[in-house]
């Protein structure tokens, strides 16, 4: 990695400049991560008096534990559902906005602000409009004969958290799709239309393939978002229920550690999550390296 051709001399200054960042990183990132790694190899007895080294036993238990396996599959459904819903809607909106000339910026403004809403608030908002007794959506669903109740129905609860998570993420995806669309040279689209391609055909044969880098990038970002940034949505609404049907991995780490006080298991779950983040980061950077020149 380069520096400038010419640099400042200085023996201690660069270390002093880096110190705040490095100290915070060591104390609040590296040390706790090390602790998680360490604790994941230990087991505490019920009173927290004695800890024994158990090797990979905590991990082995997790993968035999039905509730953890359930949490894994819940996370997959939730992440895929959120990503697909949010990206599809965003792509539809972005490609429609992109053909507007005068109203483009007005629509953009109207669509970007949900980014600012905290996941927990997004959860509360959707929890409220889907509230089985006073919510407006269950009322309408009842008219078509569907009894919505996310307090009893796992699939209703899952849909609810997916809606909330996807809603908040639409603005993000929209902005990136719009930027991607605007970077496609107009001349390509003109060439395609001279070649006699209809608007729909142009979209699927020219625009969509050229958007692939954006789409792939967003795919990774959305999966990361759904896996790690949605704690607030779950915690403020379903709290993992009913019957564990929305108990995603990050929520389970918290619940098992803070509520269940099962430190060894929670630490092992942390370690598994870290491995997932590392893999996702590598995927993301591998791909970005091809796109951006560092």
């Amino acid at each position: 990695m380069q520096t400038k051709r010419m640099t400042f001399p200085g023996r201690w200054l660069p270390f002093a400049l880096l110190a705040p960042q490095v100290i915070v990183t060591l104390i609040f990132f590296i040390w706790p991560a090390g602790q998680a790694l360490y604790q994941s190899l230990l087991r505490e007895d019920a009173f927290g008096l004695k800890t024994t080294f158990v090797g990979l036993e905590n991990f082995a238990r997790l993968f035999r534990d039905g509730s953890y396996l359930n949490s894994l599959s819940v996370t997959v459904v939730f992440a895929l559902g959120t990503t697909m819903l949010s990206m599809t809607v965003a792509l539809l909106l972005a490609s429609t906005v992109n053909r507007m000339i005068h109203s483009r910026s007005a629509y953009t403004t109207l669509l970007v602000w949900p980014y600012a809403i905290a996941p927990a608030l997004a959860g509360v908002l959707w929890w409220f409009i889907f509230n089985p007794s006073i919510g407006i959506v269950p009322y309408m669903l009842e008219m078509v004969g569907y009894q919505w109740n996310h307090r009893n129905s796992g699939s209703d609860a899952m849909l609810l958290v997916i809606f909330a998570a996807a809603w908040k993420q639409i603005s993000y995806n929209f902005l990136f799709f719009l930027a991607g669309l605007q970077s496609i040279p107009q001349s390509l689209i003109e060439a395609a239309s001279i070649d006699g391609a209809s608007p729909t055909k142009r979209f699927w044969t020219i625009i969509f393939p050229l958007l692939t880098p954006t789409t792939f990038f967003l795919l990774v970002v959305n999966v990361v978002y759904a896996m790690f940034d949605t704690f607030g949505i779950i915690h403020a609404t379903t709290q993992g229920g009913p019957a564990q049907s929305t108990n995603i991995l990050v929520y389970k780490v918290y619940a098992d550690g803070f509520v269940g006080l099962n430190l060894g298991s929670s630490a092992a779950q942390s370690v598994i999550l870290m491995v997932i983040v590392v893999m996702l980061t590598i995927v993301q950077f591998r791909f970005i390296e091809r796109r951006v020149n560092y």
Binding site: F8, R11, I134
Partner: protein
């Protein structure tokens, strides 16, 4: 391109209006709910038009909060959120500017090691190491304090990388001219580098402020003293009552959402720049 098909335009606008309506819908409902009388929301379905109790609900929430939910006044919670968000934002920006400056403008031992150390923070979101981090903060006696709320969150690989990338685009001659002009490292940082980075700092400020304001899990575990309750986590507390007072909760939701939404609306250009560049 000449494409004059009125029905296509009409269709496009329809799609967008439905999209915008769907995006706005939850917030509209919150606005409506926050203006209803206390009893209105228990009696079956929510009305679709605003009621007449808005001022009274917002005033009550602003001044006293919901005592049954152990929730302090919104004024206090908003202030707490503001302090936390500002501390996180200013902290992230300052330490990232300094580290990027060190990495780009100095050659020193272990430079790559430090670079990777900072990089690693990208892979350790607070959600995945929540319990040991909590233990560290507890051991340092930082529970129930603004220091505990902000300092553990101010390390930032993204901001450091963004500034690094930006510094690399500043012409080499800028540093050389400054050195011929007799500027040392700190003078160069203050007189040349900071003023040149001002747009990038502003763009990141918008993103970081929203990040800080919207923190949820961290304040939830770090603070138990209601004096440190932030608005986002306070709302969760109000909804977990047996019978939530929805008109007040929704008033709080609107107040909690307003500051970051306003930041985005008024600084949309900087927001878009910040968002697209931090994610590269």
């Amino acid at each position: 391109m000449v494409e004059n098909r009125p029905w296509a335009n009409f269709f496009a606008h329809t799609v967008l209006i439905i999209g915008v309506a769907l995006v706005i819908f939850p917030v509209y409902i919150a606005l409506v709910a926050s203006t209803q009388a206390p009893g209105e929301l228990v009696r079956g379905t929510l009305p679709l038009l605003p009621g007449h109790h808005g001022i009274e609900n917002y005033t009550q929430m602003w001044q006293s909060g919901i005592s049954t939910a152990n929730s302090p006044s919104a004024a206090l919670m908003l202030w707490n959120s503001f302090v936390m968000a500002m501390a996180i934002t200013v902290g992230k920006l300052s330490i990232s500017l300094l580290s990027a400056f060190a990495i780009v403008y100095f050659r020193f031992r272990f430079r790559m090691f430090f670079f990777w150390l900072i990089f690693v923070t990208l892979m350790l979101p607070v959600e995945v190491r929540i319990i040991p981090t909590f233990q560290v903060v507890a051991d340092l006696n930082m529970l129930n304090s603004f220091a505990g709320l902000s300092i553990p969150l101010i390390a930032s690989a993204t901001a450091t990388f963004l500034f690094r990338q930006f510094f690399m685009t500043i012409p080499e001659e800028m540093l050389e001219a400054a050195r011929v002009d007799g500027a040392g490292p700190l003078k160069f940082f203050k007189d040349i580098l900071l003023p040149l980075s001002i747009t990038n700092i502003a763009a990141l400020f918008v993103i970081m402020f929203i990040y800080g304001w919207n923190q949820y899990l961290w304040p939830l575990i770090i603070t138990t003293d209601p004096n440190y309750t932030t608005i986002v986590m306070g709302i969760q507390r109000m909804t977990s009552e047996e019978n939530p007072q929805w008109q007040l909760v929704m008033a709080a939701v609107v107040m909690a959402a307003l500051p970051p939404v306003l930041v985005i609306l008024f600084m949309q250009r900087l927001f878009v720049k910040g968002l697209t560049e931090t994610e590269k």
